[in-house]
Amino acid sequence: MAAAKPKLAVWKFASCDGCQLTLLDCEDELLSLTHHIHIANFLEASREVVPGPYDLSLVEGSITTNHDAERIQKIRQSSRFLVTIGACATSGGIQALKNYADTDEFIRYVYASPGYIKTLSTSTPISSHVTVDYELRGCPISKTQLLEVINAFLTKRRPAIPDQSVCMDCKAKGTVCVMVSKGTACLGPITHSGCGALCPSYDRGCFGCYGPQGSANTTGLSARLKSVGLTDDQLVRVFRTFNAAAPAFHDAGLAHERQNETN
């Protein structure tokens, strides 16, 4: 390779680090990947920081402070491609539960000296602040899909990551549908695939870690979940987990909250 290797940077915002760990977990592949890409800024792996601009920025985490809202602008300016990784970065993460509660009250409960805490009242995805070139879903992301995104970037092609339901993976694997055969509540039909239908293969319903699929009919699924016994109150909690603020789940959560209040 005559041309200089593209520079990779990994950035962290409000998150648990699980998605970055997925990158570290690539171990063998990561070493060989360094023949093709220069890991220029990845604090979780190395203290050495090569200044930008960067060819590919992987961004983990959501925006929960003013400082971060400014920081993401600078990162965008110094990144040719910006890819967000994980539920926090793509939809606001589990911390977006604060969007539906009183942040000050949360702070009072959690911190001994709340006065030191400066935080926004919302947790928002990176795409609410800057242009994002590709969103990789999951809580946490899948290692195979992450490598696929990096490989696709290096060869200038579209990542082979289908936008389809978790059910498609259940059927390809031959997993017996837990909803049809046992009446177990499952978010799979409206959830983006990527996990390989993990929970249904262990006899659990899907929790929606990968967020809504492209045409998620939450109303249609809710009607079915009510028929297996879920109440509006429970449905609020079904939709408000790792991807609570993803638009389709956000709307569904609010709708059930309203219905619950009028019940």
């Binding site: 017996v176 549908c177 909803m179």
Partner: protein
């Protein structure tokens, strides 16, 4: 159009029509294994009867029945020890003829240029034990798709040639079956190597085995069996007549075809779209749905690029993605595409309907959307076509 071969033959049909008990069935499976076949058959797993490789007759469900309705499947206990006392489950045989994932080719980079290898077509002999009438019809439908035309699929053709079919007639249909409408069951006329009819008979079920090919006759002749007599044949006919009488779901394929093609703008499409989750389950369980897509994957670290094929569905947005975006963006257009292909334009393309009447799409749809109900609605409550229909 009914399949005339599937009606119950009035006379005693063949010299290779023999009666044997569970020991005979055991022997048949053993013989198939000795002949180098991977034997695939029904077995209970995770609360359902699925089709998987089986080693012996003991893995077949014993005394297990089923209840099926829209979006619901449950196993039940039967009062006898039948091994085939249930209807079709979530697995269809297409899984073994048109597998969900298949590598098409692999390119490897060298110092100068690259080389491409194509994996060999599959040549494993497989015996399908327990193919029902609807599924036999579905295999015929897929044969037209994959073996006909100018570009047959070499892997499908090879797998199909290596397949030995042990068909089993249906004595216990469920509420979602409509093979009688499609002329595909519960009796089976041809298209098998061996056809079995199970006579439950309490603790000791027995089997009437009819050869449908020379090889089938050869294998049957190795079983300790006696010729079927008139009363056993009458028993079989009675079981099939009673099974047919239990089937209440109905769809007239000729009528369905006309109704669907005449109503592209019916408001029912919007109504069904409000319930449809666009999850694709219906297409994945359907034994005739054949859509696939290809993924190209590169792996820079080893200098290898691969193209593989996987099952796709007209319910995914990406399925109709062309330059600039997806053609069928609305769930309405996707459900309509599915139903109007299956029951309408399939005729123009392949000369039959694309449906065998197995009912899987009704059962395994998480919200129980029922194509027969949709067609019935379109037929009785026709909408006036809107003036500005696109």
């Amino acid at each position: 159009m009914k399949n005339p071969e599937a009606s119950i033959p009035a006379t005693h049909p063949s010299p290779y029509f023999v009666r044997f008990d569970i020991e005979g069935l055991k022997r048949l499976i053993e013989t198939l294994k000795q002949e180098g076949y991977e034997v695939l058959g029904p077995t209970v797993r995770d609360g359902a009867i699925v089709i998987e490789p089986i080693e012996s007759v003991s893995q077949l469900p014993c005394g297990v029945g089923d209840e099926q309705s829209g979006g619901r499947y449950r196993l039940t206990q039967r009062s006898d020890r039948s091994r085939f006392g249930y209807a079709v489950g979530p697995t269809s045989w297409k899984r073994f003829l048109f597998p969900p994932n298949r590598l098409l080719w692999r390119a490897t980079q060298h110092e100068r240029g690259f080389s491409v290898e194509t994996p060999p077509v599959d040549s494993q002999r497989r015996a399908f034990v327990g193919v029902r009438g609807c599924d036999l019809a579905a295999i015929r439908i897929q044969d037209r798709v994959f073996c006909g035309g100018a570009n047959p699929d070499p892997d499908y053709v090879s797998r199909r040639k290596q397949t030995f079919i042990v068909a089993v007639e249906c004595g216990s249909p469920v509420q979602t079956c409509f093979c009688t409408s499609m002329g595909t069951g519960p009796a089976i006329g041809d298209g098998f190597d061996i056809r079995l009819t199970e006579i439950p008979d309490g603790e000791n079920p027995y089997y009437l085995g009819l050869a449908g090919s020379e090889y089938g006759a050869q294998l049957l002749s190795q079983i300790d069996a006696i010729q079927v007599n008139e009363s056993e044949f009458a028993e079989r006919n009675a079981i099939l007549a009673s099974a047919a009488a239990q089937i209440t779901r109905h769809l007239d394929p000729d009528h369905a075809r006309a109704v669907i093609l005449e109503n592209p703008e019916h408001s029912r499409w919007d109504e069904v779209a409000s319930r449809c989750l666009t999850c694709g389950n219906c297409t994945q369980v359907c034994p005739t749905c054949f859509c696939s897509t290809v993924d190209d994957v590169t792996d820079l670290t080893t200098g290898v690029a691969e193209r593989s094929r996987r099952w796709d569905s007209c319910f995914t947005m990406e399925h109709s993605h062309v330059h600039g975006g997806a053609v069928r963006r609305s769930p309405r257009s996707r459900y309509r595409q599915w139903l109007s292909h299956k029951l309408g334009s399939w005729w123009e393309q392949f000369g039959t309907a694309g449906c065998s009447g197995c009912g899987r799409c009704i059962v395994w749809c998480p919200v129980g959307i029922d194509l027969t109900e949709e067609v019935a609605y379109l037929a009785t409550k026709r909408d006036a076509p809107p003036e500005d229909a696109p």
